[in-house]
C-alpha cells in the first residue's frame, strides 16, 4: 500500500501504549504492563489487558462487586 495521507496521519496521532476512555474517549497514557487506569477527564477506571507487549486494550470498567 502506498501509505496514503489520511491513514498515515491517523496512525501518527495514535500512540501505542495508550487507551481510549470508553466513556468520554479521552486518551490515557499507560506504563508498560499497567493493569488498571483512571481517566483524568471523567474519573472512570478501566481494567486493562495487553494484547501484545505494546498494545493495551480495555477489558471492562472497574466496578464494585464484579466477580472477576
Amino acid at each position: 500500500m502506498t501509505e496514503n495521507e489520511p491513514q498515515k496521519y491517523a496512525r501518527s496521532k495514535e500512540i501505542y501504549q495508550r487507551i481510549r476512555c470508553m466513556r468520554c474517549t479521552h486518551r490515557i497514557d499507560l506504563e508498560k504492563d499497567q493493569k488498571e487506569a483512571y481517566c483524568p477527564a471523567c474519573g472512570l477506571g478501566w481494567v486493562i489487558t495487553w494484547v501484545t507487549p505494546d498494545i493495551p486494550m480495555v477489558l471492562r470498567r472497574i466496578m464494585p462487586n464484579v466477580p472477576k
Binding site: 500500500m1 496514503n4 498515515k8 491517523a10 471492562r60 466496578m63
Partner: protein, 626 residues
Amino acid sequence: MRQVAYVDLTNRKVTIKPIPEDLLRKFLGGRGIGSYLLYNHTTKGIHPLSPENPLIFSPGFMTGQFANAMGRCHVNGKSPDTGKYGDSNIGGAFGAELMYAGLQALVITGKAAKPTYLFIDNDKIQLRDASKLWGKDTFQTQLGVWDELQDSDVKVACIGEAGEHQVGFACILHQLKRSAGRTGQGALMGSKNLKAVAVRGSQSLPVKDPQKLLEITRRQYEYIRRTKIFEITKRWSNLFAWVVNNEREGIVVRNHRANFYPEGYGHLDVDIFLDKYSEKMLACQQCAMHCEHRYEVKEGPYKGLKGEGPEWIAPLHFGALVGNIHWDVILASFEKTNRFGIDASTFGLYLAWLMDIYDRGLIGKEQTGGIDFNFGSAEAMVKLPELINKDEGIGKVISHGADEAIRQLGDKTGEFLYRCGRGLTQEAVNDRILRATCLGDQTSNRGNDHLRGRCNLEFMGLPADVLSKIIGRPTNPDPYAWDTKAFFAMWQQNLNTMSDMMGLCKFWTQWFAPDLFGYEQPLEVINAVTGWDMTKEELWQASDRVWNMEKMFNVRDGEDRRNDSPPKIFFEPIKEGARKGLCLEPDKWNALLDEYYDLRGWSRNGIPTPEKLKQLKLDKEPSHTI
C-alpha cells in the same frame, strides 16, 4: 471474460452469458452487479416469495484474487422480511469458489417441482435431487452434499428447515456460521425448493500484471499487520466492541428499557469467553486477520457443544438485549440459530420483544406453550430456535412477518416491536445518540443497518483534523453535534458499498478503524488485475451508482421519505445514565435528512432526480444488457 449463469428452476434450464466490460466497470461485482441484476430482472410490485423473484449470488469483483481480505460474496433478492430491496453478504470460501468456477454472478429464478440442489462443477451446472436433504439442518446438509459428491472441498451454501418453511428471517448458511442473514434470503431460497448451492471451481483468475499484484498485496499486508486493530482483532475478533458500545451507552438492554448493561461485567467479558470457550481462530478465504473463534463448551448443561463465531452481536443480541448473563446459554442459542438457518440478529430482536410483552403481561404461557419467557430465561433462548425451525407454537407466530405476529398477539404488543421505516426490525443499537451513524443506518436501502451506514469513526474521539482528513472535508468529531454529519453518513455508505462491490471485508476498511483501507488500496488491486486506469473518483461514482440503483428498486415500489424514518422511540429522550436527555429532535433530524438528500442529488422526498440518474448513467435502467 466474466460470466453470469441463469438457472431457471421451473424449466430446468441453464444459460451462461458473458458480462460486457463496460457494464462491469460501471457496477464491478458483488453488491454492484447484484443490484443491477435484481433491478433488471424484477418488475414493480413483484411478490418476494414468487418464483419470478430472483435469488442472486455475486462474488465481489476481486473475490478469490491474490489480494488481502477479498473473499466475500453478495446475495440479492427482494426481501421476504420487508418486501423491499434485500441483500446480505457472506464470508468464508463460497464466493471465491464461484469465481474459480468462472462465475461472477448466479441468477436463480423459478421454482423447482421437488427439492433440488445446484451443483456447479466449473462450467457444468447440474440440478440434483435434494429429497434426502430436505428436512435436514444446515450442518447436516453440507455433510450430505459432500457425502453424495464424494468431495469435501465442495463449497456449499444452504438453508435449514427455517428456510424450507419460509421463515421471514431465515438465512443462507455456509460452513458453521457464515451466513447471509438479514432480509430473509433463506426464505426466498426455500420458496424455490432450492436446498443448497454447491460449487467446485478449479479455474484460474486472469491477472493483467501478476508481478504488480504480488507487490501490492505484500505491501498492503505488511502495512495492515502493523496496525493496532489487526493485532487485537486476530486474537479477540470484534468482541472488544462489546465494551466499547456498552460503555458509550450505545446498546439496547431488555428491549429498549436501558442502554447500559453493568450486569454483564464479570460474566460476558471477552477474556472469559477466551479463557473458557475459544479453541482457535479461523479466517475467511484470502484473509490474514482470522477473526473468527472456534469454540467448545467444556462443562455444564451444554457440555460438548461446538461452533464458530461469535462476534460482538452475540453478547448484545443474546445477552444484554434479552437480559442474559451466561456465555454458555448464548453459545447454545447462537449455535442453534446457525444450525437451523435462522438469522441470529433478527432472532434476538424477536426474542427480546416476546420477553418484553411477556413481562408486561400482554402474552402468557398459553401463547408461549408453557415456556418461561421472562428476561434472561435460558429455556426461552434455547427452545425458541427449535420452535421456529419446526414452524410450531410461538415460533410459528413470529416466523411469517412482524405484522402477522402482531395481528396474532394483539395490537398493543406492536408498540414494543421496534422497526425502522423500511419495516426491518431495529438492530439493538442506540442510534438516537449519534447523528451520522443514525442517518447512515436509517437511510440504508435494506433497512437500518450497521454494515451499510454505521459511522464507527464518529465515536472514537478522533481529533477534528484527523477525521476531516479521512472524510475529505471539514467534519465535526463531536458525535452529538448535528453539523457536517450528512456528508459523513454518505461517505461511509459509499465506502461500505465499495467494499461490498469488491468482496473486501469491512474489517479491513476505514469502517472499522481510521488507519485501514480507504479507496486507494482496493483501487490499486483493481488496476493491477484488470489493466484499467480507474481513478478514485470513478470508484466513488461507481459506489454512488450502486447506492442509487438500490434506491431505484425501492422507489419503483413506491418508497419515499417516510421510509427513512427511525423507530419512534428514537425521538424519546433517554431517561437515565450518562446520555440522559439525548434523543433525535424532529426538526434537526428533518434538516439533516434534507441536507443528505441534497448531497445525494435526490428530491426532498428522497427520490433520485432525473439529473442525478443521468449523471450516474442510470437514466436508461432497466437496460437489460444481460
